[in-house]
């Protein structure tokens, strides 16, 4: 399982822009069927990560996955999501599949956040096929307001 290291937006620079440009180009090539090597899908589920004032929000598209079949774990900056997606159609002997685009199976992915999250305060919700994990930053990494006293 490959682990993905996120870059903080604060460190976003021309390299990050280049990275984004390359990814966009690869996407275009893929769409044209010009991707490098044998066509292979990206890992499931696709994930987006956002930074908020308190920490991070990780979202994943997991249509048809029940919340009891999902597993989310957080340890400092490492977030792991795993689970299974079952697709079963009742069979009555004359059942036939005219089209199959949806995939069933198991998945597991790991990500490294730019800064550690607080596992105690992390919340995961699954709604309408979207997993949303709210990861507040660990206390020591929260921006702190320091009041200045007059001497």
């Amino acid at each position: 399982m490959a682990s993905i290291r996120f870059r903080s937006p604060r460190s976003r620079d021309s390299w990050a822009d280049l990275d984004r440009l390359q990814r966009d180009m690869m996407r275009s090539f893929d769409r044209l069927g010009m991707g490098p090597g044998p066509a292979r899908g990206a890992p499931f589920p696709p994930v987006n990560l956002y930074e908020t004032t308190q920490g991070y929000v990780l979202t994943a598209e997991i249509p048809g996955v029940k919340s009891e079949d999902l597993e989310v774990s957080v340890e400092a900056e490492r977030v792991t999501i795993g689970g299974k997606r079952a697709i079963e159609y009742a069979s009555d002997g004359s059942t036939s599949l005219h089209r199959r685009e949806r995939q069933a199976g198991v998945f597991r992915r790991a990500f490294n956040l730019p800064e550690p999250a607080d596992p105690e305060k992390t919340e995961a919700v699954c709604r309408h096929g979207i997993l949303m994990v709210r990861l507040p930053k660990a206390e020591s990494h929260q921006p702190r307001h320091i009041s200045v006293r007059a001497s």
Binding site: P43, N48, A86, I87, Y89, T95, G105, H128, M132
Partner: protein
């Protein structure tokens, strides 16, 4: 019917943008679907992550069945994207409907971001077993 191996690793396919639907702002994607034929009905199952039952519109017009859906779960505007593997937008897909379908009996349900459309076959198209009598 052989179902897929439940233990294989799932892959994600790049979302396919719909080219023709340009009447609304924003990106429109083509959802993945399964179409299953059973004795009494056709079942159309579409992946619509982020969509609830209030945001999906199923229409039937001139023999064309269309699914149009908007997001109920969206990223909030103040979130700063750091890393993105998928884009968000609405969904559109259409199917030419067989004349075997009893259009008055079509039923739809949304669950966990998946739309299930039950399209019952008209009575005359259902298989029937005919009793053979001895002469």
């Amino acid at each position: 019917m052989s179902n897929q191996n439940p233990n294989r690793e799932i892959e994600t396919r790049e979302k396919q943008e719909v080219e023709r639907e340009k009447t609304r702002p924003g990106i429109v994607f083509r959802p993945d679907v399964d179409i299953v034929e059973q004795t009494g009905e056709f079942l159309v199952v579409a992946d619509l992550p982020g969509v609830d039952d209030q945001h999906v519109n199923v229409r039937l017009e001139n023999g064309l069945l269309s699914i149009h859906a908007d997001l109920a779960v969206e990223p909030e505007p103040e979130w700063q994207p750091i890393y993105d593997e998928y884009r968000v937008g609405s969904y559109y897909r259409e199917f030419a409907l067989s004349d075997q379908i009893d259009v008055n009996e079509i039923k739809a349900a949304m669950k966990n971001g998946v739309l299930e459309l039950h399209l019952p076959k008209a009575e005359k198209h259902r298989p029937r077993s005919i009793e053979v009598k001895a002469g």
